[in-house]
Amino acid sequence: MESATATARPAVSAAPSRIWSWLRRNGFKIYAGFALAYVLIPIGVIAVFSFADASQNRDHLAFAINNGFTLKYWEHAFAVPDLNDALLTSFRLAALATLISTVIGTMMALALVRHRFWGRRASNLLLVLPMATPEIVMGASLLSLFLIYGISLGFTSLLIAHIMFCISFVVVVVRSRLIGFDRSVEDAAADLGATPLETFRYVTLPLLRPGILAAALLAFALSVDDFIVSDFNKGTTETFPIYVFGAHLRGIPVQVNVLATMLFALTVTAICVVLWQQRRAERMASVRPEQEV
């Protein structure tokens, strides 16, 4: 029970206790700042090395700044055609895989959390299994499957594989949002005459959006990042991680760092723009922001 009395404290200890209470109030924000810095360190390194002059090394990164800095790799950022192709392929793949797996996964999550049906526990098990499987096993076993059924290796086989491993993650994330979801809002909508479909579209889905977005983000990141499963099932198609791995063994072109930095900057910018738009919309609709705890 916190004491409500505030007896006068000696002025001497006023300053430290002020600092202390400032710390306590802003502790979380300071911590968030540190965490953010930690998360950004490798990005910083990547950005720095995108300026490193590596001409002594056949324009390949040596991760040592021997020759000083240069802007030339930024000027010729798209000079490595294989790299560009790989990056584009990765994005196309990730976009499609995210879309499809988010839809399928959200549907599954809804089914699993909100309905009791025969086969529910088996479905849960089915979901957990891909996440517990070493990627190399998934990759190799999928390859055998594709070959036996004559599915050509390339973008298609990659897409199938990516959707497969994304579904489980989407379900888990959406599910953790669905559990304990306050159904009374939906009941209210039904009471007001909305059909189940309308309730779903206008009440449930918007409320679910953060969870679905989080799941889609995760799926996208998983797909862009995937290396092992892709390596087995790519045929001659190259995704970005596969390109980097191959290049790493013999020297990464500096353009890789340049493009990675560009990508990061673009992502941040895009998000800022989206959020700024959202803020404008909010202001125009004069929605009151929720109170802080």
Binding site: F28, K29, A111, M131, T133, L142, S176, P210, H248
Partner: protein
Amino acid sequence: MGDQKRSFRRRLIPYGLLAPGAIWLVVFFIVPMYFMGEMSLRTGVPNTPEGFTFNWEFANYSDALSGRGDQIVRTFFYAGTATIIALLIAYPLAYAIALKVNPRWRLPLLFAVIAPFFTTYLIRTIAWETILADDSPIVDLLKTLQIIPEDGRLLATSGAVIAGLTYNFLPFMILPIYASIERIDTSLIEAGKDLYASSRQAFLRVTLPLTMPGVVAGVLLTFIPASGDYVNAEFLGGANNAMIGNRIQSTYLEQSDYPKAAALSFLMMATVLALVFIYIRFAGTEAFVGSEEEAR
């Protein structure tokens, strides 16, 4: 009559929702797994024209395990430690973003934390390889501060591998926890405080239990792939830091001993699944499979 039809259709809904995903997983996961299983029971010598023939060779499983004990313990130690550290980092961070900052900064901050993970896994790990290199400024600083000995190193150690795992799987931990903290009805916390709970009690008795589903999801989403990872060990680890994933990869791709590789993979999957089930029992099945009251 119309009632019956509607109720029949209603009962079909879950199956309709479930079908695309379930079919996809069966065809593209279960079937290949069956092939794997069949392969794990074959015998033969690698790289010979005769190949491998099916022989109910359960010895592959005991062979795969023999001498692997150290590595298995090491793998789960690395993955477990990384998961715990990630949890310790992610929970306060998610809490801060969801509840402690101005709501207009929430999504930006969240994206700011996740955005670095849109650069490739490999590049991030390679960046850490640079940061932790023996003559990098950071290592020099730590040596000056006497935190590590003069002839010590950060790279090629188990610490580096764990640090890499933690860093790389952080978003898997943050996102589910954030999702579940964010949807807490804050009035519940306020109610707790109105009932004379201190901030700490409010947290332990109200917030934490309500966010358990997110924590469980985060822990699982981190621990499981971390156990099977081999990229971090390969880039950041030394000769003595190999994880089970490295062994599976080399049995598969270097030795071409597919039956043993398949057996080892299944063993690994089984162990992880067992750990997962134990954890779920401990954390409560409702957190994972959804409570029974959810369904109407």
